[in-house]
Symmetry: C2
Subunit: 305 residues, 2 copies
């Protein structure tokens, strides 16, 4: 039975490219593996797949009885249906360790770097396996996406070194230009429903017993979102009403290097407690805040304690 390699819910570029790269790597190490995803690629990911001639993985939302490798997450709230009866063979990730457990020994590589494909680059090297040119291109874009072209505080020296090496393999001469091209695609909101925009990069967290949703939209210029901001606010209010304590939506300006956060919460004062700045109305500008993982989630977790 071929194992599935599967990233988190609301798959982003890292989640999908990591599934493709890890499946290639496991297969070349002799473990049959097929890439999968818990949803369709976002426009950003579609751009990356097309640019390097890669195919979108099959969509899988139930893994009952299956063998699994997880990429880019290790927590049950981001896992698909059927995890109870699935066998987890391995994890490659770059987040905090979540609540996934296994009943048999597994192979886990979890490093505090900016992107899962940075870890995968090291695993390819460790096993002296050559990275295919098209997969290297995808991996490179995943790092540029997760580190916001090296601007995010999550970016490490290892991510930069991986990009250098992957650019050579993929034949990409101007990495930053490719990154900007990708972020321009990511910035486009035309044609997307508000639901799609909120869930494009969205995660639910359990914060001291409260269900808290945090989404993020990264754009090259916040003015792009000006005309949809009221509709986004209405949409997160709808999402909150489905049993959440709070929903926050980060509108991140990657050039200005900061985020406007849209707020809906049973306790709006939690935002001031978390960030030390008072919200005006239903949103707040957080200068320098680019990373949900490193700057937003830990602050909220402390505030909710």
């Amino acid at each position: 039975m071929s194992a599935l390699v599967l990233g988190h819910m609301n798959p982003d570029t890292d989640s999908i490219i990591s599934a493709i790269a890890a499946a290639d790597l496991y297969a070349k190490r002799g473990f049959a593996a097929t890439p999968a995803a818990q949803g369709q690629p976002t426009p950003e990911t579609e751009f990356v797949l097309k640019k390097f001639g890669l195919s979108a993985p099959q969509v899988v939302t139930d893994v009952a009885g299956k063998q699994l490798y997880l990429v880019d997450y290790s927590d049950l709230p981001q896992a698909p249906q059927g995890m109870d009866s699935a066998t987890i063979l391995g994890i490659v990730d770059h987040h905090k360790l979540g609540d996934v457990t296994t009943s048999t020994p597994l192979e886990a590589w979890i490093w505090p770097v900016g992107c899962t494909t940075t870890v995968l680059k090291s695993i390819y090297d460790f096993y002296c396996i050559e990275i295919p040119k098209n997969i290297a291109g995808g991996m490179l874009c995943a790092i540029l996406s997760d580190t916001v072209i090296f601007k995010s505080p999550t970016c490490t020296e290892a991510d930069k070194q991986a990009v250098d090496a992957l650019a050579k393999i993929a034949g990409v001469a101007d990495v930053k230009a490719l990154g900007m091209e990708m972020f321009k695609v990511k910035s486009a909101v035309e044609g997307a429903s508000m639901h799609d925009l909120v869930f494009r990069d969205y995660k639910d967290f359990d914060m001291n017993g409260n269900k808290v949703g945090i989404g993020q939209l990264e754009v090259v210029d916040l003015s792009i979102l000006e005309k949809v901001k009221a509709d986004l606010q209405a949409e997160i209010e709808k999402v909150k009403s489905e049993g959440r304590h709070s929903v926050f939506l980060l509108l991140t300006d990657i050039m200005k290097e900061g985020s406007e956060m849209l707020i809906v919460s049973d306790n709006p004062a939690i935002v001031e407690k978390a960030f030390g700045v008072k919200a005006e109305g239903k949103s707040v500008w957080l200068p320098g805040v680019m990373s949900r993982k490193k700057q937003v989630v830990p602050n909220f977790e402390k505030a909710f304690k």
Copy 2:
């Protein structure tokens, strides 16, 4: 602040040597780290430490507020006091993934091999760091101990390769002779209390809501234990009375390659359900069973479901 590198409760040779090796490795990578242990070394571990001129790590039983690297486990029942307020920076392990979680990204290397020091050998190689001769000797012994000199079904090709390489570094000519010398020390029961023997290599598990303790004594000849068997049975009955559903003690004959299991349980029939053999009185002979991790725990977990 120097982080502590800490193995599981009732530390075995792998747990203590892994703490020593990992602390050396982290320090050489630039992360201040000090080896520690949740208890005194067993006679086997003392033999290994003395043989290679290593010192027993400091004993630490409360880690409140500390920075930690975990070695050889990832589950809370085996963790010390104060884990709630400790920061886990990394994990090196070779068991199933337990219920430890973190609030920040960490560095985890968890591989399905026979011994944690086999993983550590690969990390030394990955970072091109030379393994000190005395630590290599300890790591070699940890692998011989955990794999029962390559006889355990947990033993992998990676463990054998690590032993070959470590033996060269440590200057050990006859690996199997060293293993037998170590297991003879491990077999000695003179002077040890029944409590010490039961807890020498003992772990508590949560099996479908039931607290189940499983200990293991490995000897070169079961006859060594003949005269203490009744006292061991009385001791595990005492351990069970402290709020456990069952306590099982494996008396493993490493030459005959099988284990006699002493049984005390609210439901003794669980043993037949797990292993398909009927216990006679309070014990059962399990031919070929050498590994708690690979052969005993998974069978009981299924039986308790």
